[in-house]
């Protein structure tokens, strides 16, 4: 992340969703994808683990989200539904640690070529800007 005033966000994205939206990940900045969002592509959003989400926060992320397919369009049938359960688990953990659960989110977006993929990155960036830096920052 180049701009220290921008929130550090990690996005775990389903391979199909990410490529359907951009065709070429190198083009993302040109399409308006926020530079403060670090992309980690997964073969399916259902591959995300609770540990990986938590470790992103441990390693300093201000916000973390998973982007997967709509419930009924997942290439692996239930991948994005499984991912949502894991994100919900982490939301509950954050709440129990008195950290805003809104710092983690699950987005189910269309696999049709459109800007949903970029819009959720922008939405998460704005949300985390409102919440401010992670309470783990600088500690």
């Amino acid at each position: 992340m180049n701009d220290v005033n921008q929130p550090d966000i990690v996005a775990f994205c389903c391979h199909y969703t990410a490529y359907a939206c951009s065709q070429d990940l190198q083009n993302l900045p040109r399409l308006g994808f926020p530079e403060n969002v670090r992309l980690e592509i997964l073969p399916c959003s259902g591959r995300i683990s609770i540990t990986r989400l938590l470790k992103a926060f441990e390693q300093g992320a201000d916000g973390v989200y998973v982007a997967g397919c709509w419930e009924d369009t997942c290439h692996n049938i239930r991948g994005s539904q499984i991912a949502k359960k894991r994100v919900d688990y982490v939301k509950d953990v954050l709440a129990q640690l008195n950290i805003k659960p809104e710092r983690v989110e699950m987005y189910m977006i269309s696999r049709e070529p459109n800007r949903g993929f970029i819009e959720v990155a922008k939405e998460m960036t704005e949300r985390i800007k409102r919440l401010g830096p992670s309470p783990l920052k600088g500690k």
């Binding site: 683990s49 640690l97 500690k139």
Partner: protein, 222 residues
């Protein structure tokens, strides 16, 4: 298997107050199967605790290990060279593992990360329910294999009681009346006559009423 679930995070956090280095110890037995205290859950809890401490500006060092079982001497002995290196061992085993760790390592605090719930079955992914109360004097031959000790809310031996309504227990419409289940099963087996045998007063001395239980098998001892 023995079914457990992780304690609320703040309860665990409270136990670890002031500690700087802990061993989070998983168990590869029952609690691993019920996704409460196996290798994956150790990794998750360690991360949660590090996040909490980092947030509070008091980092904690977590060492993560999972033993094949925590209820066997041979596996716990493997910790003898390192148990003293920790402020505490946070066990993710059932209460049996926590007890045995405490027995074997008197100088190291041992803490429970789980609540041990019951002996039960996996009905489906993510759903467990009780089947055995470990009373030490099994009556299942007389009840069609269904346990009135573990599954009747009143532990009645000559049920059902008046709270059985439409096959459900009066404590909740989601709880089956096991005496209804016993009746239905014995009827299906043409063994309804078994219900005419009245259970005498149960001798609970084989249960916890007789004190801590122990089995010694001379034929197996070395």
């Amino acid at each position: 298997m023995i079914v457990g679930e992780r304690k609320p995070i703040q309860e665990i956090v409270g136990m670890l107050k002031g500690m700087k280095k802990i061993l989070i110890l998983g168990c590869g037995g029952c609690v691993s199967v019920c996704s409460a205290g196996g290798e994956k859950e150790v990794e998750i809890l360690a991360s949660i605790l590090r996040i909490d401490r980092k947030k509070g500006g008091e980092p904690i060092e977590t060492v993560e290990k999972t033993l094949t079982r925590q209820c066997d001497t041979e596996y716990l002995e493997g910790l003898k060279d390192e148990a003293g290196n920790y402020d505490a061992i946070l066990s993710m085993a059932c209460g049996v593992g926590v007890n045995y760790l405490a027995d074997m390592y008197p100088k190291t605090p041992v803490l429970p990360a789980l609540n041990t719930s019951f002996m039960g079955v996996s009905e489906e992914q993510g759903v467990w329910s009780e089947r055995c109360a470990g009373c030490g004097d099994c009556v299942l031959d007389r009840t069609g294999g269904l346990c009135p000790i573990a599954r009747c809310s009143k532990r009645l031996l000559n049920g059902p009681c008046g709270g059985s309504q439409n096959g459900k227990c009066e404590i909740s419409p989601n709880v089956a009346c096991v005496w209804q289940l016993i009746y239905d099963r014995l009827k299906g087996l043409n063994q309804l006559e078994k219900l005419k045998d009245i259970f005498p007063v149960k001798d609970w001395s084989s249960s916890l009423h007789g004190g801590p239980r122990k089995i010694v098998r001379e034929d197996l001892k070395l």
